[in-house]
Symmetry: C2
């Protein structure tokens, strides 16, 4: 595990920690301010641009139905100053799979994109090729 | 639209064109060979690594049920030598939303990650903020 991979996994964990604490201010700080951002909540259309993305998180985290998300199996993929993490999200309703894109801004890994959606086969996460037979 | 954005959108279109022509060889060439790759097919667990990803595409494109995908509304987000595209995918069963991550390798934009999943509100793609009210 490289230092960059560790830092990206830490940024990914901070994202879920802010969600679980309903901490909109911290969540805002975790998103990129220079790179263009987007977000695809489960089943939603894509939200494009920082304003719409942050408005969605404010609405979600201040709702009585704000989710608690347990992030598991984060796998970082780092390419220079950009990275994406694939991870599982367990919520009350079941398990989702997420793609989180990060960019390094002034030395810190910031979120540029979040895409979460359903995944049907939890147990296959570690041995995916068997599912093709 | 910058030259990089145009090039990324063209790479994104080439990806769907290869799928629709069931052209496994071309599809293979469109994926990164140096950056780590991953893929989340709709409802699947994440596939990690080039071998599993390409094996999945070979299985999908050589199947009698190989999908035809119409890509619409691609929105490129370029950060240096990395980019992600958010777009809609219309298939026979309905409309999905996709995140496609690209990296520039030796001057060419190559795919590093594909994540497609359901989206419930097609018409909201252009005015997403209304959905939060």
């Amino acid at each position: 595990v490289s230092p960059a991979e560790s830092a990206v996994v830490a940024a990914n964990a901070a994202f879920y920690d802010a969600i679980n604490r309903r901490d909109v201010a911290t969540l805002d700080l975790l998103w990129a301010t220079e790179a263009p951002v987007a977000c695809i909540h489960p089943g939603w259309p894509a939200l494009l641009g920082r304003d719409d993305v942050m408005e969605s998180w404010r609405a979600i985290l201040t709702s009585p139905e704000a989710p608690r998300i347990r992030c598991e199996d984060p796998v970082p993929h780092v390419v220079g100053d950009t990275a994406f993490v694939v991870c599982l999200e367990t919520i009350a309703q079941g398990t989702l799979v997420a793609t989180n894109v990060f960019v390094r801004e002034h030395g810190a890994w910031k979120m540029a994109h979040h895409h979460a959606g359903p995944t049907s086969r939890r147990a296959a996460q570690r041995t995916p090729s068997r599912d093709l037979n």
